[in-house]
Homo-oligomer: 421 residues x 3
Amino acid sequence: MAWSPRHSAGRRLQLPLLCLLLQGATAILFAVFVRYNRETDAALWHWGNHSNADNEFYFRYPSFQDVHAMIFVGFGFLMVFLQRYGFGSVGFTFLLAAFALQWSTLIQGFFHSFRGGYILVGMESMINADFCAGAVLISFGAVLGKTGPVQLLLMALLEVVLFGLNEFVLLSLLEVKDAGGSMTIHTFGAYFGLILSRVLYRPQLEKSKHRQGSVYHSDLFAMIGTIFLWIFWPSFNSAPTALGDGQHRTALNTYYSLTASTLSTFALSALVGGDGRLDMVHVQNAALAGGVVVGTSAEMMLTPFGALAAGFLAGAISTLGYKFVTPILESKLKVQDTCGVHNLHGMPGVLGALLGGLVAGLATREAYGDGLESVFPLIAEGQRSATSQAMHQLFGLFVTLTFASVGGGLGGAAWGYGVQG
Amino acid sequence: MAWSPRHSAGRRLQLPLLCLLLQGATAILFAVFVRYNRETDAALWHWGNHSNADNEFYFRYPSFQDVHAMIFVGFGFLMVFLQRYGFGSVGFTFLLAAFALQWSTLIQGFFHSFRGGYILVGMESMINADFCAGAVLISFGAVLGKTGPVQLLLMALLEVVLFGLNEFVLLSLLEVKDAGGSMTIHTFGAYFGLILSRVLYRPQLEKSKHRQGSVYHSDLFAMIGTIFLWIFWPSFNSAPTALGDGQHRTALNTYYSLTASTLSTFALSALVGGDGRLDMVHVQNAALAGGVVVGTSAEMMLTPFGALAAGFLAGAISTLGYKFVTPILESKLKVQDTCGVHNLHGMPGVLGALLGGLVAGLATREAYGDGLESVFPLIAEGQRSATSQAMHQLFGLFVTLTFASVGGGLGGAAWGYGVQG
Amino acid sequence: MAWSPRHSAGRRLQLPLLCLLLQGATAILFAVFVRYNRETDAALWHWGNHSNADNEFYFRYPSFQDVHAMIFVGFGFLMVFLQRYGFGSVGFTFLLAAFALQWSTLIQGFFHSFRGGYILVGMESMINADFCAGAVLISFGAVLGKTGPVQLLLMALLEVVLFGLNEFVLLSLLEVKDAGGSMTIHTFGAYFGLILSRVLYRPQLEKSKHRQGSVYHSDLFAMIGTIFLWIFWPSFNSAPTALGDGQHRTALNTYYSLTASTLSTFALSALVGGDGRLDMVHVQNAALAGGVVVGTSAEMMLTPFGALAAGFLAGAISTLGYKFVTPILESKLKVQDTCGVHNLHGMPGVLGALLGGLVAGLATREAYGDGLESVFPLIAEGQRSATSQAMHQLFGLFVTLTFASVGGGLGGAAWGYGVQG
């Protein structure tokens, strides 16, 4: 079965040529700049020739595979719930993510592992590239149905650069903590996509709204996406943390936060639904908000109770967002949010950033012991107070919102120009 | 698309209020009692500050993620084969499991990791909570279609307590081995659900039986569940075993047992099917019986041949159960077993407990060497003979059947009272 | 819902009896020959009683679970795209793979781990058996729809033996490198199936071609298979490599190769499609060719650029194969390749073998450093030059094509005789 991108008639060469051009360009850049890092090169390092601490590299492998599964299966199928876009959403997810993995390897590598004129790549760069692909797919969820693959690839070309820049400012310049990416992935991806969607507002899309309705089997496919995101979120948030207690704590907080967001989603969905009915769209999406909301703080000493409370709040806000905020966004602000990314990634992401600031501000030597060094190195070294770290965290949120908005706006403007040109 | 629980009209507030109540109660109990354990707390332990043996904690992480995937994807989709309950089965699986994870963390923690007034949680408690959620979902399979989410949550509230109590009696008091839970998970979950289903017998359900028929796409969704259970069962059975040879042996025995139950299921299904036709329900379910039947013994020196023989027998019994036992259960004993959990979990679970007793009774110092210490510590220390361990194993089965029956009966009685009240 | 194998009427006992016979035979062989290996037996080895290097065995476990998931979910669902064979393809995949796992444990064990009269099994033999099952499922893809389960089991009976023999000749006699199986798995499985399909040519199959058409939901199910293969391919290719840099390099090369084959597939599919339309069959299959093409060379110092270039080429060739080669194969050579395995496994497999020869021929002590010992031990020890290793690699391809062709031909001849007899 074939499926057709928009504007297929006179522009049939656009997609092939763009794919070839982008692939050719990244391949040349790979040839010039990209080299295996120490743990990946045959000549530099081997099993056995290393201390126990080097075992770290082996333990990253399962985390990589979990994140990789979550991004592709999770985002790939979550968006299938719209019958009309089923094919396109899975297919374009695939294309977009494949390109984003290559492109973000170059951009993130330039910012984070550029040594002696070369970008060094290994397990960590693969995990980071998957994270960046996640942000691109979140933005895709906001504009799904408005655009064809050519525009989506151009969106990714711009977004990956801004993602890398924003991440560099937050993690390297501001030295903000954001292991699971409440700010760098969810907030950034959501608002980039939403601003882009605003610029691309098409009134006639509203008229064909009934074609967006979900159906039985599409909902079951979307539940595959939901469940994969739900089960692998502990690995997603903990993939870049310190091993040992850091990884365990992050996974555990994420796990409990997700159980609480699931319960609050069912509660609120039945409460606001007509006649006590549950809305599948809430279950498919809002139940995941618990993973987003602890993206910054799960690494910290959030406590198991804190994880439950955060998850509960996120699930509730997300469900209420689908019911009350999305219609207002569309009718008043002319933002058509096809998959409701504002509810799943936008609001919970901002909430997660604020929660991260709060928990950072409460950090004490007593609570973290020697672990303070790995969670908040600047506080441990006395270069920052906990309050100062909290302020930096909040400033990181502000920076992220700025990059996302400017980026989405720029993207939309370029796009509009291209359509008219 | 929305889906509607039973009794939605006058009782629309029941589900939201129950969710909020349960979540509020567990959150308060978490706040008071639950703390990070040593391997999860920032102040207590770090990567590097430990001996090689402490690496154990890192190796548990992939096991956790595998079990988590198996429970949610496996059970979530296996029950979709009934077209009529597709939505409900996935959605309620999600709700039930999310609640069970929280509640069993408290109950199991109280029995197993209550230290200095606190329940200490970490990787192991997450794996154990997933196991308990598995038992709840098995019971759910027996009553699917009879009940709405409110009753299911109340069932989980009771079942998790009895699961924890039964597990405590078996593992801590009787010191019985049951790594993969032939008794504690499968037998307990199946008979709890079946007794409950008996008490809730509704003659009119039979009349609408044709609505239970499966259809093409639902069967493919169910096969997703089947395959996830099949592939991750080695990790499920081996998640709580000793690392090294224990984990490898358990995984290997489970792997071969499943291949044999698959072959015997196809053989028996074609044999008893009219005209040599295969029945998809057999393939979806009975092929998995090999995982259940070695739940107790896979950790032991079952031998690869023993694994094949056990799996073969389990697949055969399970297939014959679907053909001959289920109709009798329904017509004679008035037990409506919607998903056939008696065939997949009940009979193979009991068989697995008996097999575990047999293999334990044959344990010798010669066969286990120094490994006797980790598989049967009481035999290694001379406190028990192999025969005595076998007797304890069988007594564990009796205890499990008692707890399951009393629990299911109590649950049904309370339920019936609630319906009339 | 029931589904019916071909020839069900007068031959209803064939499938059950064959399953029972095969299972009985393998069980007896297991009883006589198969024993736990050192890392699996309770008496021989334990956690703690070993050096750091022994940790290797723990790190294999996640690789096993990834490969196992890829084989069953990936191949199980990829073939569902043909609406007409949906049930059969998933069900028979399951049956075939379950038998192949047992049978190849015996055959591969006989060639590779036969010690003191026993076949020793453990984690590695499970991974190897999964690899062999992969080859059988590839052949199944070529003959899907032509045959019933009885013939498929007999095909597996023969193919597993030849697979084991071919693998032994390549890996142990020729000492060829082929970690991810470009030759031993993909080339062998594809050409075995294609020759078999040729021998079984049935002109009337062409007439019912319209029944092979895919439909919306079947395509989404197939995408589940595609995505699972795509995400787990790095683990598949790296499962048998040396740990540390070997595993990381193999996974990284596979990861980037797949991103490039995805982009080239979209480019070429839109280019050759009428009206710029993308063909779902290309996306479902050709996007995976990047995993096949680096099956031999990903372990080597291919460089990240080399991985991109190889993946790009494989995706392009595979897409063009679906468009131009498959119709010629069918009309001119009378090879009906139901799932297009020639395009996904055949041509990319041969290309991967050639690429492996090329990269091996370029190996220098300078590029591999001390790692030369683990990648090319014979070159490191001075027993072979790089050019000689390259020649051996190419000869390995020739041997593989010979075994596959003779095996497929023999299988087809025996089959034809059986049908007439």
